[in-house]
């Protein structure tokens, strides 16, 4: 059935786009015409040709995950203090870094010859998988058998903004569509009353990559991530103006739609009908968004579990919100928790300062999120991804060639740790390994493009076929690279 439908769409598409599409069809494939029907939104007239092929037809294969919750630790936590345990590094603590590790390398801050820095916290092994976790994550240690550790993730960038952009748009420069834009473009959204790509931000202000991390780039704006704000309107302009009650709003929209119907009687324009539908949706969203974001409804034990405090801006609140959104069919839920940068350059940005605090903020909540998804049977088809934009050096950061007042590490993209769970990923495994000091990968290195390809794969998309034509070429999230890492898939 599906095959038949896809074939039909193919021929329909080619008829419309005749030459352009005919020549390019073998690489454009379904991806280009897979624009989903996000929230029932539409793109007018001509663009519709390239766009409005509905929902599921975007799938290239049966998906393992329906939704994704991406927990981005912006600022880049140290893998050497959390998961990648390196006892040898302890022995090297305070020793000068050998020149072989420095030659030809470009660092954000390290200058001259820095000293090696041993792990700052103690580690133990947990679960049947005997996974190493540091003392900073006392809750997370309970779920190690549910996750797949990726211990040799590699990025090309060594500054926060470009590395975050690289992670979320596949390119270190602004202007490309966000991860969730690609996904909703390809798949549409399950829930027509909520945006398909939602962004939740906590920690100190917004991540340094800015809103470009969830912009729609050259994709139509309806695929942009919608930030659910913790203060003020959760979605911009969702609240009625003062003195306009919900009853009045209903009456206003009824009147608009009646007049638009009259207009349609003479204009006969399909877009007028679409506008009527959009106003109905807007009215529904005015209900569903506040309802979905109202975590006060949750029972006490849930608040206890996550450590949530309704009304605050917090990672815990956002984790709970993420579960509620996933329940409601939001396809791509992106969390950012900012403030992980730990150079040791001041009393905040160091491994015993801000870093410690961030660990406290996320440990309980992210663990609760995984447990909660599991107890609701949602973990099977919800993919959870955790990680920063890069990792940290085994050397102590030494800006200006002198030693920093606090313990800290510089940016490091060669190998760092992320973890995934749910959505068809193997449980209790570790993929990738680093050398004895956690500097270079020794096996199973996973590039950011591989990570993206693998995530798309779990969502039912072939990353090479999810393309969009812009400035004369077909763009992809994974640029011209990326392999699905099958070893971590169940």
């Amino acid at each position: 059935m599906a095959e038949k439908l896809i074939k039909e769409l193919h021929s329909k598409h080619e008829n419309h786009l005749s030459r352009r599409q005919f020549l390019g069809s073998s690489t454009l494939g379904l991806g280009a015409m897979a624009l989903g029907n996000l929230s029932g939104c539409s793109i007018s007239s001509e663009d519709e040709l390239r766009s409005n092929f509905l929902n599921k037809t975007g799938l290239h294969h049966v998906p393992k995950a329906k939704n994704i919750i991406f927990l981005h630790m912006a600022g880049a936590p140290s893998q050497l203090e959390l998961f990648d345990y390196k006892p040898l590094l302890q022995n090297l603590d305070g020793k000068e870094c050998p020149p072989s590790l420095l030659e030809g390398k470009q660092f954000a801050f390290i200058e001259g010859v820095p000293q090696m820095l041993g792990p700052q916290f103690s580690f133990n092994q947990y679960g049947e998988s005997r996974s190493w976790v540091s003392e900073l994550l006392p809750n997370f240690k309970d779920i190690v058998d549910d996750v797949a550790f990726l211990k040799a993730v590699k990025t090309d960038e060594f500054n926060h903004a470009p590395a975050q952009l690289f992670m979320h748009t596949g390119s270190p420069r602004i202007g490309r569509p966000g991860f969730g834009s690609w996904v909703t473009y390809g798949l549409g959204s399950e829930n027509t009353n909520l945006p398909g790509y939602v962004v939740l931000v906590s920690g100190q202000s917004i991540p340094s990559g800015g809103k470009s991390l969830w912009g729609s780039g050259f994709l139509p704006s309806l695929y942009q991530g919608v930030e659910l704000r913790s203060k003020g309107d959760p979605v911009l302009y969702i609240s009625n103006p003062e003195n306009t009650s919900r009853t009045t709003r209903r009456q206003v929209i009824n009147t608009i739609n009646k007049l638009n119907e009259i207009e349609h009687n003479s204009s006969n324009s399909p877009e007028t009908l679409s506008r009527i539908a959009q106003y109905e949706l807007a009215f529904k969203m005015q209900m569903t968004v506040p309802e979905a974001t109202n975590i006060k409804d949750e029972p006490d034990y849930i608040h206890e579990m996550y450590g949530t405090e309704p009304g605050e801006v917090s990672f815990a609140n956002n984790c709970l919100l993420a579960r509620r959104l996933a329940e409601r069919g939001v396809k791509f839920i992106q969390l950012f928790h900012r403030g992980w940068d730990s150079h040791g350059s001041n009393d905040f940005e160091n491994l015993h300062g801000g870093f410690l605090k961030r660990c406290e903020e996320v440990d309980k909540a992210m663990t609760a999120l995984v447990k909660d998804l599991k107890q609701r049977g949602m973990l099977d088809d919800t993919l959870v991804v955790w990680g920063g934009e890069f990792g940290r050096t085994p050397m102590q950061e030494n800006r200006g060639g002198i030693s920093n007042p606090f313990k800290g590490r510089d940016h490091h993209g060669e190998a760092f740790t992320m973890w995934m769970t749910g959505g068809g990923v193997k449980n209790g495994i570790t993929y990738g390994e680093t050398d004895e000091i956690g500097y270079y990968p020794t096996k199973e290195s996973m590039h950011i493009h591989d990570l993206q390809a693998t995530i798309l794969n779990q969502l039912g998309i072939n990353h090479e076929r999810l393309t969009y034509p812009f400035q004369g070429r077909d763009f992809r999230l994974t640029d011209v690279a990326g392999d699905v890492i099958k070893d971590i898939l169940a």
């Binding site: 030459r19 352009r20 020549l23 390019g24 073998s26 690489t27 029932g40 007018s44 007239s45 663009d47 470009q106 660092f107 954000a108 500054n159 903004a161 470009p162 420069r173 602004i174 202007g175 945006p195 202000s205 917004i206 340094s208 470009s212 704006s221 203060k231 003020g232 979605v235 911009l236 302009y237 969702i238 009625n240 003195n243 306009t244 009650s245 009045t248 009456q251 206003v252 009147t255 608009i256 007049l259 638009n260 009259i262 207009e263 204009s267 006969n268 324009s269 399909p270 877009e271 007028t272 679409s274 506008r275 959009q278 106003y279 949706l281 807007a282 969203m285 400035q471 004369g472 070429r473």
Partner: protein, 707 residues
């Protein structure tokens, strides 16, 4: 082309260039042997019975007709055609003869003939109220003012429409509307881009230059040369130097640890790609890394073109150098007006009056400031340009000098081999593309769809023009008759009968031509982000009339601009400045004005030729709830109550007419007045009740659309 093109040449075979296609492939066999289809491997392979060997691979076999066509082509000598866009238009082209005498000017026979061949019948003319709204929105981007509407609807003059069109073209608001198309192309923004996205607080003077150039109807060839090479013009004026800020809208990376040279080159390559897209409808960016997959551009030719742009002083420095201390064209004008007023004061011996003081203060307040501009490096410190292997700036290939790709017309000998020469070449008689591309852009702005739909791409992957002869005819007229005048071109288009048709669509038209490619009816499309804002403010009487000036920050929700810790606050503009047209809204790349993003503005990091128009619930929330629109509803309600007559029905009709230039039909009026009375019954004040009615009016599909 995917398998045997510019990127992949599987089996060493590429069909992109004639010379490569005729060479033996890896197998030793020749794919094409002219006049000998039976010996040509191409034919052998497309007819092959074994699917493993049959081409195209992994696809359905070609149809018999297609195979016959290819055989015939080889039989006739396998002549490589030139893509239509690279062939000069026929100078003798003229409007075709058609049956009857449908139409008002030369455009119409082209359109009529084509629509007939598609079995379409033209719609009747649009109503006058519709027509004046359409013309005004298309020419100045705003609804027509009351006086103009009154004058037009009550006139019995035969040429009353032409009078209106001329009046609109003369309006100072013309430039404000047409600049927004250009600023998308120029990727204009008030900030530098990349992570820090530091502000460029003085670049608005370039934006004003663009508005002024459109208002002055600067011929497009001059408009081209000044922006691309104003610095190289002998005895250049300040304005010509200001025009070069066009290519300083590239991004500057101020992030720590980044290599200035890498980002200088990124800016230079962007200038090349942007120039080629705007003037030649060519998507050159691909060729940075490899030969073009579909168009006949070789890898090294990209760098030959890049050499034209690679010799400027700017180098991604943190201070955005070089800059020049400049006034905007309008500031200079104001300054000279004030100067003569001040000197008049003096001669009257009136030097201490209050008026004098005000004029003096104003005079003093207009000061030039540092605007980033383009300057060429002196000959003795010129940069070398080399080919970057696979586009990687660290891997150098052979050195190249400024040159035009061979598929494009040659550059005349007397043009200098620099940016100035390049600009002159773009608008020279030998270059058939520029006028076509520009005419198509103007056409797209007016009809919502280009004669070539892919306004950004006229290459082999473009859509064929729906009306190729019309495109050529218009392009030639643009150069010869209109002398590159944008205003004359717009007028010619708007005086056509095609332009003036009703946009209502019959079932038959909808079935035969759902997207109105053949223009048998008036076009209908959603207004731009700027227009939607401007229209609401104009109808409600809030819109500031001020033209030109620095970018403003109208109210936006708290927290939106809380982007990064490094720089800058949204400093809310006060008074009239909070009600200026959208084009003056401060444009920060990492966070453009939120209501405008939802209505599909690009973020202006790169050149964008065509905005996609979406229709989403977030848009409805904006026009219902954004304080700008709430304020507009209140102001409109105020006008309705105070100026609309005695009865609520009169007041409602008044407001409706103000918005749409026509009275509401009876049933529409009934619905609106029902809403009004409902609100009164729910204990609303008259004002609040009318505000909801006004909000309905400002949300009507007919208003959001250009019909």
């Amino acid at each position: 082309m995917n398998c045997h093109g510019g990127v992949r040449a599987n089996g060493d075979l590429s069909f992109l260039f004639e010379q490569t296609a005729l060479l033996p492939a890896k197998s030793g066999k020749k794919a094409i042997i002219p006049f000998k289809p039976n010996l040509s491997e191409l034919i052998h392979r497309i007819k092959h019975e074994d699917p493993e060997l049959r081409m195209p691979l992994d696809a359905d076999p070609l149809s018999l007709d297609e195979i016959n066509l290819l055989e015939k082509w080889i039989n006739q000598g396998a002549k490589w055609g030139t893509h239509w866009a690279y062939i000069s238009p026929d100078e003798n082209i003229s409007p075709p003869k058609i049956e009857g005498d449908w139409g008002y000017n030369g455009i119409d026979p082209f359109i009529f003939k084509k629509m007939k061949s598609e079995n379409l019948t033209p719609s009747k003319l649009a109503s006058n109220s519709n027509l004046i709204r359409r013309a005004s929105l298309d020419i100045i981007g705003l609804p027509p003012n009351d006086v103009m509407v009154q004058q037009f609807l009550s006139s019995s003059e035969k040429n009353s429409y032409e009078i209106i069109v001329d009046e609109l073209l003369d309006s100072e608001h013309f430039g404000e509307k047409w600049a927004s198309m250009w600023l998308d192309l120029a990727r204009y923004a008030d900030s530098r881009g990349y992570q820090k996205d530091i502000l460029r607080p003085e670049i608005w003077r370039y934006r004003d230059w663009v508005i002024k150039a459109f208002n002055d109807d600067m011929p497009f060839d001059q408009f081209t040369i000044e922006q691309l090479a104003g610095d190289l013009i002998v005895d250049r004026s300040d304005d010509q130097l200001l025009a070069t800020a066009f290519h300083r809208n590239t991004m500057t990376n101020d992030e720590g640890g980044t290599k200035n040279e890498e980002f200088r080159l990124a800016a230079v390559m962007d200038r090349l790609s942007t120039t080629m897209e705007i003037w030649q409808g060519n998507t050159m960016a691909c060729v940075q890394c490899h030969s073009h997959p579909y168009d006949p551009i070789k890898h090294e030719e990209f760098y030959g073109m890049m050499a034209f742009f690679n010799n400027t002083m700017d180098n991604d420095n943190d201070n955005d150098y070089p800059k020049a201390s400049l006034l905007s064209p309008n500031e200079r004008l104001m300054k000279s007006i004030l100067e003569s007023r001040l000197s008049n004061f003096k001669s009257n011996g009136d030097s201490i009056s209050e008026d004098y003081q005000i004029a003096l203060n104003e005079f003093i307040s207009i000061q030039p400031n540092s605007v980033p501009i383009i300057l060429e490096l002196p000959i003795d410190s010129s940069r070398k340009t080399v080919v970057f292997e696979k586009g990687n700036w660290l891997v150098h290939g052979e050195e190249v000098s400024p040159s035009i790709p061979s598929f494009l017309p040659e550059m005349a000998q007397n043009f200098p081999k620099n940016r100035l020469g390049l600009a002159q070449w773009l608008v020279s008689e030998e270059n058939p593309l520029t006028a076509r591309v520009v005419v198509n852009r103007i056409w797209e702005q007016i009809f919502g769809r280009g004669i070539v739909t892919t306004v950004e791409d006229f290459g082999t992957q473009s859509e064929s023009p729906t009306h190729p002869e019309l495109l050529d005819w218009l392009a030639l007229r643009f150069i010869n008759e209109h002398q590159w005048s944008i205003k004359s071109l717009i007028k010619e288009i708007m005086m056509s009968k095609t332009y003036q048709l009703s946009s209502n669509v019959s079932d038959e038209q909808l079935a035969l031509d759902p997207y109105n490619r053949y223009l048998s009816r008036g076009s209908r499309y959603r207004l731009s982000a700027e227009q939607i804002r401007d229209q609401a403010l104009a109808i409600s009487g809030l819109l500031s009339n001020k033209v030109y000036g620095k970018s403003v920050m109208p109210p936006q929700p708290d927290g939106v601009w809380n982007v990064i810790r490094h720089v800058a606050k949204w400093e809310k503009s006060e008074g009239d400045d909070s009600h200026r047209r959208g084009i003056y809204t401060f444009w920060r790349r990492v966070s453009p004005y939120p209501s405008m993003i939802s209505f599909d503005v690009p973020s202006r990091e790169f050149c964008v030729s065509k905005r996609i128009r979406t229709n989403t619930p977030l848009q409805a929330l904006i026009t219902l709830n954004d304080p700008v629109f709430v304020e507009a509803s209140e102001a409109l309600a105020h006008l309705m109550i105070n100026k609309g007559g005695e009865s609520p029905e009169d007041q409602i009709s008044f407001g409706f007419q103000k918005a749409l230039m026509r009275l509401p039909g009876q049933s529409s009026l009934n619905h609106l007045s029902e809403l009004y009375h409902q609100q009164l019954e729910q204990n609303s004040s008259r004002m609040n009740a009318m505000k909801e009615v006004a909000s309905v009016i400002l949300n009507l599909d007919e208003l959001i659309m250009r019909t």
